[in-house]
Assembly symmetry: C2
Homo-oligomer: 453 residues x 2
C-alpha cells in the first residue's frame, strides 16, 4: 500500500492509469500474490483505486491528495457555554485539559473494556448486526434496575430507556416536555452544557443560586412562584461544577416546592458511581413520579463507548421511545450496550471504582494544595468526584485567564460558562485528575502571569 | 451465582441478611475461594448483594424480584409512520419481519466485525476511553472523503461530521435549518421515518409524486412555487420504498428548480453500497453547495455499531458540530467509528458487498416470483437493494393486511405509512432478504385470507 501511495504522491501513477498486475507487482516486491491482493483490496476499499473485473485495478479518476490537513479548534471563539467542550474535545494531544469534564484515559477500566471487546468478538450475529429493541439492551436495563432497587428506587426494566448519551437523554426529555418560550430552572452555577442544550430548545433559562447543600430552598420556591418553570435540571450528587452534595433537608424542601407548582425535575446522576457513600436522591425520594433520573457511563467506564439512560414514568418512557425512534432510529448501539453490560458485570468493576475513588481523593487533596499556593482556593472540598470549584485571586478574570491559558496549550473552564447570571467571573473549575500532570502548575502559573489583570 | 439466586428466590436468604463467608461457601460448593469472590463481586455489581468492608456480603435491602416481565410491542397502535419501526424493532425472535428495513443478521459481514472487535481489544487507551473529537474519527472521515472523491465528490475531511446514525444526521440538519411551520418536500411515497422525524420538528410535509426515475420534475417545480419549502429530503439511489433510481435528466431538473427557489436538499445515501453500479447523485452534481449528503453503515455493515455522517458546506458543518455537542455531547462513539473504520478498510469488505449484491439480486427475483403467485406485483424491478414496492390484489387494504399479519407473527410495511397523501393503501413494501425465509409465503397467504376485504 505504501509503495502504491508513493507512486501516486510522486506522480509515477496518475488518475485512471492501470496498476501493475497482481502477479507482476508481487514479483517486483518479493511478496506473495495474496499479499498484493489484500493491499489492492484495501486501497480499493478506501477509494484510492478501483477494480474493473476482468481487466485489473486502476487509479481512481479523482484520487485525492494524500496529505489532508485537519482543522484545529478555533481560538477566536466566544467564551460561551460551548467553549469548554469545543476547546477540550478538539484539543491536540499536546494540550493539557485542566478544565475538561473527564478522567485521563489511563484512569479508566480499560482492561475490563478490552475483555468486553474480546467477548464481543464472540457474540451472536444478532448482537453484532441488528438494531436491537427500542428501549435498548434488556440485560443492561435489568442490571440497572437491580442497582437502582439497591438504592431504594424500584422500577421495571421497561421504565428504562437506553440512549446514546446522558446528554441525548436530557435532549429527548426536553423535546417531550418543553415548548419554545418555556422557562427552565437550573442551578447557578450549573453544568455549562445544560445551558447550551436549553438554548437549542429556545427556552428561557432561570438560575437559582447554589449553596454547598444544593439550591437555595427559599430562592428556589420564589423562582417557582415568579417564573412557573416547566422543568428543573440538576445534579444531586457531586454537583457539576461545585462538587457539592444535596442535603436531605434541601431535597425534601425542593420536592415539596416542585409538587406545589407541578414542576418536573431531571436529576442527572452521571457522577453517582464516584461517591464514597450514597447521598440523598430526588428520584428515590419521589419514586419517579415527577422526577426523571438520567445518567451515563462516560465518567467511570468509558466516554468512547457511548451509552446513557432515562428512568421515568412508563407513559413518559413510551413517548420518549417514539421520539428516539423518530430522531435517531432505534435505541443506542447494541454493541455499545453489550460492552457496557460486560464491563459493569465484570467482577473487577467494583474494585476499579474503589481504587478510583481513593485515587481521586488523593488527587483532590494534592490539587487543592498546589492551587492554594497560587492563591486559588476551593469553594468547598467535595466528598468525591473530580471537580474543584475554585475562587481565583482578587482581580483575576477567569475568561481572561482561560484565553491566556490557550497560548500555553492549557484548556481551562472559566466560571462564567457555568453561570446563567454570569456572576462567576472570579471562579474556575479544575479537574483534579488532569491536575496530576506534572506540567500543570507551571503552565497555570505562566498563564496567570500572561493574563491581563 | 445460581445458588445464591436460588436461595433468594426460595426466601432462604432475605433482604439485609448476611451471605455465607467466602471460605465457608467455597467449601460447601466445592469450588475455590476465588470463584466465590468472583460470583459475589458479580452479584454486588448488579446490586443483588452489597459488600460491607471488614464485615462481609449482605443481601441488598431491596433485592428485586428475579423474574421481571418485559413489555411486548403493543398491537393496538395506530398504523402510522412509527408503526413499522416499533413493531419490527420490538418483535420477538419468533416474528418474521417481511416489512423491516434491514438485512437478516446472517447476511452482514460479521466475520469482519469480529476481527474489528478483536482489534479493538488492542486499541490505545485513548480510543477505548475518551470522547474523541467533535467531528468524529479522522481516519474514518479520511476514508469516506477518499471514497467520495472516487465518486466525483471532492471534499475535505473537515466537511464531514460523524453522527450516531443517519437519522440523527437528518435530525441535526432539521434543527439547523428548519423552524416550526416551515414546509418540507418529500417523495410520495418516501421512507416513513422522514415523516415521523419531520413531525417532531413541527413542519408541514409536502409530498411530490414519485416516478420510476425520481420525483416528477414538473410537479416538483410546481410544489416549489406553491409551497416555498425550505428543504427536500430524498434517496437518489435505490429509493426507499420503491427501489427506483434517479435519472440524470431528473437530477438535473431537480437541481435547477432547487437553485431557482433557493431550496436545500438532503440526499440520504444510505443504500449507496448496494448499487450494482453508480447512479447520478445530486451531491456530486451540485458539489455540496445546496445539497447535503448523509449516510450510515446500518444497511451494509452493521445496524448495531451505530454510525452515520453528514457531508456538507463547511459553515453548516461548523454549526452542526455545535448542535451535536449541545444535544449529544461530542460526536459518535469513537469505539463505533473504530469498528466501522476497521471493517471498511478490511480487504474482505468489497468482496462481501459483491457477494451481497449477487445474493440480493437472486433473492429479489425469487421474491417477485413468489409474490406474483399471490397476485402481488412489483411496481418496478429495482437495480439493487432489498426492497420490492408491490401492488396488492384489487380490494385488499395494506393496513388491514398488516394488522391481520401481526396475528400470524408477521410484520409487514403497509403502503400508507410511506405516503404523505395516504394514497398508497393498495401497496406494500417487502424486504426480499427477509422473504427468503421458507415460512414467508405460507404466513403471508394466511394473513391475506384473514384480512377483511
Amino acid at each position: 500500500m505504501d509503495e502504491i501511495r508513493g507512486k501516486l504522491a510522486g506522480r509515477a501513477l496518475g488518475p485512471g492509469e492501470k496498476l501493475p498486475s497482481i502477479r507482476r507487482f508481487a514479483a517486483v516486491m518479493g511478496v506473495s500474490p495474496s499479499t498484493v491482493v489484500e493491499a489492492y483490496d484495501r486501497l480499493a476499499a478506501e477509494g484510492t483505486i478501483v477494480s474493473r473485473p476482468g481487466s485489473g485495478f486502476y487509479v481512481s479518476r479523482s484520487a485525492p491528495s494524500l496529505a489532508i490537513a485537519e482543522v484545529e479548534p478555533r481560538r477566536d471563539m466566544a467564551v460561551d457555554p460551548l467553549w469548554v467542550s469545543r476547546q477540550s474535545l478538539d484539543a491536540g494531544t499536546d494540550v493539557l485539559k485542566l478544565g475538561c469534564g473527564w478522567l485521563p484515559s489511563g484512569w479508566m477500566p480499560n482492561a475490563a473494556i478490552r475483555r468486553a471487546a474480546r467477548g464481543l468478538a464472540k457474540a451472536d450475529d444478532v448482537v453484532l448486526a441488528d438494531y436491537g429493541n427500542t428501549r435498548g439492551s434488556l440485560p443492561l436495563r435489568r442490571l440497572l434496575a437491580r442497582q437502582f432497587a439497591a438504592e431504594g428506587l424500584d422500577l421495571r426494566p421497561s421504565q428504562l430507556l437506553l440512549t446514546s448519551s446522558g446528554t441525548q437523554a436530557i435532549d429527548l426529555i426536553c423535546r417531550l416536555l418543553l415548548r419554545p418560550g418555556d422557562r427552565v430552572l437550573v442551578d447557578d452555577p450549573c453544568y455549562f452544557n445544560f445551558q447550551a442544550l436549553l438554548r437549542v430548545h429556545q427556552v428561557r433559562i432561570v438560575g437559582v443560586p447554589f449553596t454547598p447543600t444544593g439550591p437555595d430552598p427559599s430562592l428556589f420556591s420564589e423562582a417557582l412562584a415568579a417564573h412557573r418553570p416547566r422543568l428543573y435540571i440538576t445534579n444531586s450528587a457531586l454537583h457539576n461544577p461545585t462538587g457539592a452534595t444535596l442535603s436531605p433537608q434541601t431535597a425534601h424542601r425542593i420536592l415539596n416546592a416542585a409538587a406545589a407548582h407541578d414542576l418536573t425535575i431531571v436529576e442527572d446522576d452521571i457522577f453517582a458511581d464516584l461517591e464514597p457513600e450514597p447521598s440523598p436522591r430526588l428520584a428515590a425520594l419521589d419514586g419517579l413520579s415527577r422526577v426523571i433520573r438520567i445518567g451515563s457511563f462516560s465518567k467511570t467506564l468509558s466516554a468512547s463507548v457511548r451509552c446513557g439512560y432515562v428512568a421515568a414514568r412508563s407513559d413518559w418512557i413510551e413517548a420518549l421511545v417514539d421520539l428516539q425512534v423518530a430522531t435517531s432510529f432505534g435505541g443506542p448501539s447494541p454493541v455499545a450496550a453489550e460492552l457496557v453490560y460486560a464491563t459493569l458485570s465484570d467482577g473487577s468493576y467494583r474494585k476499579h471504582l474503589d481504587a478510583l475513588r481513593r485515587r481521586l481523593s488523593k488527587a483532590r487533596r494534592e490539587a487543592a494544595g498546589k492551587l492554594e499556593r497560587l492563591g486559588i482556593r476551593p469553594w468547598l472540598m467535595p466528598r468525591g468526584g473530580f471537580y474543584l470549584w475554585c475562587e481565583l485571586p482578587e482581580g483575576l478574570d477567569a475568561a481572561e485567564l482561560a484565553r491566556a491559558a490557550l497560548r500555553e496549550k492549557l484548556v481551562l473552564a472559566p466560571g462564567d460558562v457555568f453561570s446563567p447570571s454570569r456572576s462567576a467571573g472570579g471562579f474556575m473549575r479544575f479537574n483534579v485528575a488532569q491536575m496530576s500532570d506534572p506540567r500543570a502548575i507551571a503552565l497555570l502559573s505562566r498563564a496567570m502571569d500572561g493574563a491581563d489583570r
